[in-house]
Amino acid sequence: MNRLPLQAAALRAEWTKLRTMPGTFWLLAAVVAATVGVSAAAAAATRCPARLTCPVDTGKLSLTGVQLGQAMAAILAVLAIGGEYSSGMIRVTLAAMPCRVAVLAAKAAVVAGLTLAAGTVAVAGSVLAGALVLPGHGFTPAHGFPVLSLADGPVLRAAAGSVLYLSLISLLALGVAAAVRDTAVAIGTVLALLYLFPIIAAVAASSQWQRHLQQLGPTTAGLEIQATRNLHGLPISPWAGLGVLAVWAAAAVLAGGLQLRFRDA
């Protein structure tokens, strides 16, 4: 009967905390700036000379900045719970809201919601930058590259998927931070999960293992959602890839929830 008001109260409390935390606005701005900045730079650095056929996935190229933007989203998520552990605030939070699962659920909702909002702005800006820059660099409809547009099915899927991707990364980071309870260790773990898979896959000795690593990694699988060309050549299909990331995020949140539920704060 009073389940709903409890959840609503937790949500309100977490929203107030995160909203009034000094870094939140700047981190959300950093998500947008990093994503759009790197994406625009990548588009500006790529040219397709008229006489060449360019094996370029313009959709993926114009969303390159997500590679950096995800790190900013991860900081926000890690600080949302890790900050409470480092300042001791978590004990006050749990005294006020003894239902620990509700606390984590509220944090997850607020963090994922804010990342979703910032991610939407970031991805829209990136696609816009690509649509403005790329036609001037030889990626013209006459050359086989239609101008990027969200009305185009694969581009819309890549863009909407990238927004979901950023949200899932923030949930993954939140779960890890709840599980390890220390901001520095949590951010290290998250960054290792995000960035080691593509690097190890790039040098793995056997192509079989390369493929497995790309199918398993949260970023390598998750970012396949950005592919708009050559979908048959992908190690994992776009939505299945995002599913892999969702499993990682769910596992991390579950681990964090269990730690929060069964361990003293």
């Binding site: 590679q67 290792a192 079989q208």
Partner: protein
Amino acid sequence: MTAGTVTRQRADGPARSAGFARVLRAEWTKFRTVRGWVIGMVVAVLAMVLVGLFAAGSANIACGGGPGRPVKTGPACLPYIPAGPGGEAVTDSFYFVHQPLAGSGTITARVTSLTGLHTSGNAPAGGDPLAGMHKGVVPWAKAGIIIKGSTRPGTAYAAMMVTGGHGVRMQYDYTHDIAGLPGQVSAASPRWLRLTRSGDTVTGYDSADGSHWTRVGTVTMGGLPSTVQAGPFTTSPLSTVTSPFFGGASSQTGPSQATGVFDHLSLTGRSPGGGWAGVSIGGGPDSPGTGIGAFHRAGGRYMVTGSGDIAPDVTGPGSAFPTATIEDHLVGAFAGLIVVAVIAAMFITGEYRRGLIRVTLAASPRRGQLLAAKAIVIGSVTFVTGLAASAFVVVLGTRLSRDQGLYVLPVSWLTEVRVVAGTAALLAVAAILALALGTMLRRSAAAVTAAVAAIVVPYILGVASVLPLGAAEWLLRITPAAAFAIQQSIPQYPQVDTAYTPPAYFPLAPWAGLAVLCAWTAAALAGAAVLLRRRDA
């Protein structure tokens, strides 16, 4: 007054250095007594070793097979690769028309034509396909004269040659290349080539008319026996076309062959065996090329056709067999780097979090000294830890790869030391960068992310993204990720065409790459020192 100043300096000097030693000792004590940091360093070593050995151990090489032949695995698949005089792996396959030359002597020949066929790329307009091959000579097709220790692959040599696109060259002992006359060879503009051996010295000359000779180079070669094989040769390496984009087929390779036409061939000196004999050198299944080699003599004209190369082996697409480099086993350095960045950032942010920084600064008020002491402690600890981990993983990983049948390109011990110690230095400097960022930002999450985003993200964008090659190379030139150049063990040879792309090849030289990271770190340390002095703790 002067005396007073001197006295004060004398009194102050030792006291100040004793003060710094005390600060250093305090920081070292802090580091080694925080259990989490010591465990963290162990985790960094484990991460480096396990990730590195996984990358090496997952090779699963299989070869052979086909109708009626068993599939072989493991070391049975290791190819036979000759080693050059410097110990490096070399390709040594060409068609050689030779006779022995005892002691000193001179060989001279005129080259009037160099033509060829190749399978892909660089096709001149209108090239007609002939059995899947196009007419056209690849840039590093070679026809010329050579003095070589023996007909065994890998022996020392010196050669004068015309090339498909790089003019006349003098090359010796696989890795050395000196430019001679520029321009293409043709019947209208032939090239005269001459090699003179006198003891251990070989001198190469070229000429456009056979009367005015220019010395191209003189080399001292200890590796030549008293009787060598001398004569004309032709070879033609894999044709390579590198697309400026990653993703999909970024580089296409295929075999090629070339035919050189020689006349005015003369050999002076004490030559025990008479007559020219043709032999195909090193044309095994592991060598690149069409396997075609022949020579025809018509009066004073010799037509020599060959395929292959006389050059150092490099890693890249187009190898007939899978190759690895020693630095492939150091991929765990990225895992180690993230762990080390966490520890280094906490080394200062931990003090801010607990308020310990106020006690620290009360005990040692010189803030610059405090930062220096912390940098020295975290840098040294990381260097020693990283050195142990990278030495272990390179030695063990190389052995593991070879046991799996993966050919690891051999390098000199000096290069191996540079790669191992350089990786340790890279980790140490990265740790100091994380410390400086931690001092400036005072928040571990932000500091760790900034350090990792500065070093690892440009690397990922450079090697595993859809960025074009030019942009990727700029990233690996100006960002701290340039430092991974220190791990490149096989140099880029201008006389070998292959896809010199990251992650195997970096745009900067090894130490220059590390210097880029050092410059970023120095700038961050300077910023940290200023902020530490100006801001309240």
